[in-house]
């Protein structure tokens, strides 16, 4: 439920003046959850802005960002001796 609400909040923020707020929530969201659905959201927002008629920068940036965070995430988490992940 929290995840859905946060996702809607990010969508809302990207379409209104709360752009930096949305960015901050996105960073936390991607780290907390996998956040792959944000890439689809970025594609939709780029479509909304008509960015596919030139270069969809937001989609590309989100793709790189989400994948980078998910690649780096295992290094940023702590593991116990029993292979238990501590977040």
């Amino acid at each position: 439920m929290t995840r859905i609400l946060l996702f809607l909040l990010i969508t809302w923020g990207m379409l209104t003046q709360f752009f930096w707020f949305a960015f901050a929530v996105t960073v936390w969201y991607v780290f907390r959850y996998a956040g792959y659905e944000l890439m689809v959201l970025a594609i939709l927002i780029d479509g909304y802005y008509g960015a596919f008629f030139s270069v969809p920068l937001l989609s590309i940036a989100t793709l790189i960002f989400v994948l980078s965070v998910n690649v780096m995430k295992p290094s940023l988490l702590m593991y116990t001796e029993k292979n238990e992940m501590v977040s």
Binding site: M39, L44, I45, G47, P56, P74, E84, S87
Partner: protein, 339 residues
Amino acid sequence: MKKYLSTTKGNYHRTSRKSYRGWLIGTITLICFGLIFPWLVSSVSSTVLYPINVTANWFKTSDSVFPVYVRSRTELIAELESLKEQMATSASTRLSVDRLLEENMQLRAMANAGTSTERLLARVIANPSKLAYDLLQIDRGTDDGVVVGSPVYTGMDTVIGVVVHTANSYAFVDLFTTSGFETTAYIVGPNVFATLEGMGGGIARVKLPQGVPIAEGQLVILPGVSSGVYGEIISIENLPTQPEQYGYVAPPVSLSSLRYVSVSLDAVNVKDKSEIGDEIRSAIRAQMVLDDNIISSLSDIAEETEESDSEEVESDVVVAEEEESDTEVEVFEVVEEVN
């Protein structure tokens, strides 16, 4: 310490890699699909994000109790004060403007130039500082007759950009100040054409060679748009060691404070690459075909040249014969001396 941390059992790496690949492939496929069919993705996005867009617009522009309450009364009071100030300022210069406008119309009529086109009032939903891209969002779209390429004005003749993307109920305006946007401008004063390039942040600049007398306050006009005054030079960067100088240009109204704009319903004549290529090819072909008058004059010149050449050849033959006889005489004299 361990009691206060949340622990999760499981192999994180394996599940992550699977979903990682799937999402990567899916997203890249979607992006490629969007680049191939941008209009389709745009339509889908407009449909999917429609509820959020409507809610956001309602929140920002509605006069209902809740949005007004949230936006707070102070913002409306500030807007009212600002409008009063603008009215007071504009009233003092209205007479001069009317007189100049009338004179301008008369001169345009005499010069058979295009007059003002039909305009549509639009409200600014979001300005560049509130959007992910350096665009202006207005609340008019294709339903109202807005098309891609329509010039967007503030005031009577200050053009600030062109519509670059339209949906049914909204449109995005690409500003002349958007970074990378280039257009030809005419600077009143030195009376020169220069390329106006967007710098972002509501500022554009013109690049001119050293020696061109540009000054602050000079008007910049965009000849590509009918009656398109853009703004004036507000600052000059001129280093004597550099071969060029820069004039920084800004519209008279700050883009972040724009609330209303007007959209011309006549789009700027946009041509694609193939049309431009065809025109260039036809121009080159036209250059290859000479006019009849030129051909006749060239043939006259050729005939005159031939006549003069034949005369020269004849005179050369005579000279050669004379020289030949002279050498024969000389040879004869040498033989006699030897004998």
